[in-house]
């Protein structure tokens, strides 16, 4: 085999007392796609940041073309031909494709920007990956998938020999993923080495050559990309699924309907969605990103308006677009992105836990500080939120503990209908299990849970019923006891709208 473009040899990295990477080795060969596999918190991000020069290893060596190097900063890494395509793209939406591709190194003529050459350079860069776009178009007008390709073209125009693709498929549709993989195939032919990170196991066999599995910062194994998915999961989590999803159904009371959604439609995203959630039940909304799951949950919570349909909690209609009314009716909403939508990161844990109950516990508009504090402390203890004290800014907690703080708000508000949008995203393995136990506790107490999740094992492991969404419709319902990943996926890719139109045409014929 040829010399690797880049090798990490037995690298380690600690932050203070916490070791996040412990003696890991990875090689990236020209024309090969090396997959990094591991759960959130397994150390993938830290590893690629070492490759990109963001972090420097405490131990071990980095080799480029077989020669030991140090990467003190991202510039050093870029100069050696290593480029990272981040999930958050580094593009300026209000500037043209050409300007973005030559950002920071625009060709000049007489001290002014040489626009003609800039455009030509951009066209050449796009041609490298077979992309035919108007280089004067603003990047902001492109979809995410196209933007990603522009970013790749930009990296290649800077003579990148190795690309780090950090979850490039997370926000893409099936078709866009196929286009991206076509580009990856081309790059493989051009001897570009690649690191590929994805949580979708099916993509590994499709695109990868070899897989490095990480768990809790340690190297577990390197296996061929053709390895069976079950085996990959076993390597990744180090235990079987049953332990990972400790679903218990302990509610003994009557199965009252707590939440009833009828014919809900929103502008463009949700189409005639109806379902119910009963006491003691976990209903999962599965489907691909963009299927309308988050939009359903946000409409129920009163965050976004809807065009038609009704939402009832315990038989009473909820007004449209009124978060306060939803909360008073017993709805608690754990949004998709806790940092942006869930928490005021600079405010204390105490404040964040209390926002939904500040007004209802106040006397004449004056905050009940002592009561609020003791209640917050009680819930924080119950949920085992690991923190210095209640006055610590919530932004300084770990991801799992931040998420528990969002849950704590609704536990305090005694919400009985919990809408959980990707409740375990970006949460480490231990905290995940704690969140699952929390879901058990909520349902055991007679609450109903509606859970949006893109992680199929989680959906299969925790839900009682699975509603699969596709293109804004509910494309099917599955009982969790006999549902399989395949069954969910085939519903998730079903084109309900087209089926309806086919039916209509058949009827008319």
């Amino acid at each position: 085999m040829s010399t690797p473009i880049l090798s990490l040899e037995n690298v380690s990295k600690s932050f203070g007392p916490v070791t996040v990477i412990d003696d890991v080795s990875v090689d990236v060969y020209p024309g090969k796609v090396q997959v990094l596999l591991g759960e959130n918190g397994a150390g993938k991000s830290t590893l690629i940041k070492m490759m990109a020069g963001v972090y420097q290893p405490d131990g071990g060596r980095i080799l480029v073309d077989g020669k030991e190097v140090t990467l003190p900063d991202t510039k050093a890494s870029e100069n050696l031909g290593i480029a990272t395509i981040h999930q958050e793209l580094n593009l300026v939406g209000s500037m043209s494709i050409a300007e973005n591709i030559s950002m920071g190194r625009m060709p000049k003529r007489f001290g002014l920007v040489d626009r003609r050459r800039m455009r030509a350079d951009a066209r050449a860069a796009l041609a490298l990956i077979g992309l035919d776009l108007d280089v004067d178009q603003h990047v902001g007008e492109l979809g995410i998938a196209r933007q990603q390709l522009v970013e790749i073209a930009k990296a290649l125009s800077m003579d990148a020999r190795m690309l780090i693709l950090d979850e490039p498929t997370a926000a893409l549709t099936k078709r866009e993923i196929a286009a991206l993989f076509g580009v990856v195939e081309d790059l493989r032919q051009q001897d570009v080495g690649m690191i590929f990170i994805s949580h979708h196991l099916d993509e590994i066999a499709a695109i990868g050559d070899s897989v490095s599995v990480l768990r809790d910062g340690s190297f577990v194994a390197e296996v061929p990309a053709t390895t069976h998915e079950d085996e990959l999961v076993r390597l990744m989590v180090g235990r079987d699924i049953a332990q990972q999803f400790p679903r218990r159904r302990e509610y003994q009371g009557p199965p009252d309907t707590l939440l009833s959604v009828q014919n809900l439609s929103t502008k463009g995203m949700v189409n005639d969605v109806s379902f119910e959630a009963r006491a003691g039940e976990v209903v999962a909304l599965a489907g691909l990103v963009g299927a309308g799951r988050t939009e359903v949950v946000r409409a129920i919570a009163g965050v976004d308006p809807y065009l038609s349909g009704t939402v009832q909690v315990r038989g009473k209609d909820l007004p449209r677009l009124d978060v306060g009314a939803a909360i008073r009716a017993g709805v608690g909403h754990v949004p998709e992105d806790r940092k942006v939508q869930g928490l005021v990161l600079g405010a204390s844990v105490n404040d964040n836990i209390g926002y939904a109950t500040l007004a209802s516990t106040a006397r004449a508009g004056v905050v009940d500080f002592a009561g609020q504090r003791s209640r917050a402390q009680g819930v924080a203890d119950t949920l085992r939120i690991r923190m210095r004290d209640l006055d610590q800014p919530v932004g300084s907690l770990s991801g799992g503990n931040q998420q528990k703080a969002v849950f704590a708000r609704w536990i305090l508000a005694e919400s009985s209908v919990l809408l959980l949008d990707e409740p375990t995203r970006g949460v480490d393995v231990g905290a995940k299990v704690e969140i699952y136990e929390l879901i058990n506790a909520i349902t055991a107490a007679g609450g109903a849970v509606v859970m949006v999740s893109s992680e199929l094992p989680e959906v299969l492991g925790m839900a009682d019923r699975i509603l699969v969404m596709s293109g804004g419709h509910i494309s099917g319902e599955l009982d969790a006891t006999d549902a399989t990943q395949d069954a969910v996926m085939s519903l998730a890719v079903r084109d309900v709208q087209r089926d309806l139109e086919d039916q209509q045409m058949k009827d008319e014929a």
Partner: protein
Amino acid sequence: MNTVAVRKPTTSGRARITTFLANNGALVGLLVLGLALFIATPDFLTGPNLLNIGIQASVIAVLAFGLTFVIVAGGIDLSVGSVAALSAMGSAYMFSTAALPGWLALIGGLLVGALAGAVSGFAVAFGRLPSFIATLAMLSVARGLTLVLSDGRPIATAPTVSFLGSTVAGVPMPIVVLVIAGIVAALILNYTVTGRYMYAVGGNTEAARLSGIPVRRVLVIVFALSGLFAALAGLLLSGRLDSAQPQAAAGYELDAIAAVVIGGASLAGGVGRISGTLIGALVLVVIRNGLNLLNVSSFWQQVVIGLVIALAVGIDSLRRKSGSH
């Protein structure tokens, strides 16, 4: 990677003082400033001079208290100077021209300010105007209305308003008003539900909305309070002169903003304290007072004030950067 919450070692007494001083840079600055002036000139630390400082600080501080609400909630209010002038002129007009009783003219002046603020608040909350634009518009509208109302001439204030600017039994009323306004503002910000909501809205508007916080109502209240405090400042100012001037308090919004940010508030929202704002206002006034005592020309004073603002906020953001990682 996940952020790792490192447990801080138990703080010793000395460490605690260090932390306190690090968190109260403006207070340290004020004390250093006071000490330097005490050494430089015997005229600084005298009873009359300190009272003078208090009186001079009162208008800026009261304006800045109201502005603190807005800045904590993540906005900015450029109209406070103009609203102060309009409120004072409105009050004087009610008394002198409309012949309303003095107490009514006082309350009426305050209402004018609150109303002007609420209008800005509506424009921000429901009209979705950036607060910079909404209050820039109000800055112009309020000043224009002041001129319309007065026809460009000063109007005599009601005795109730003049009382606010007077000295009773050796106690200057502006300082009394300053203290009461400060206490009320601090109580609102720290102890009321709406006050706590201001921090949430300024810290993360979207998260606040999803937590059921009535964001738009909070914004209207915030700007109305800013207008109310601006009105009080305007009445103080006109009371001291016994007349409402059409060009009163022009440019004061910049001093008020400076006081709030020197006091440690963040223009990004979510951070700020009334005590800090008070210190910020005192820093500004003490510098002016000291430079006057040292016979530094008022032209140079402006240069110094500008540098102090840049320095105070610069040090603060550097500290923040090193504090968070």
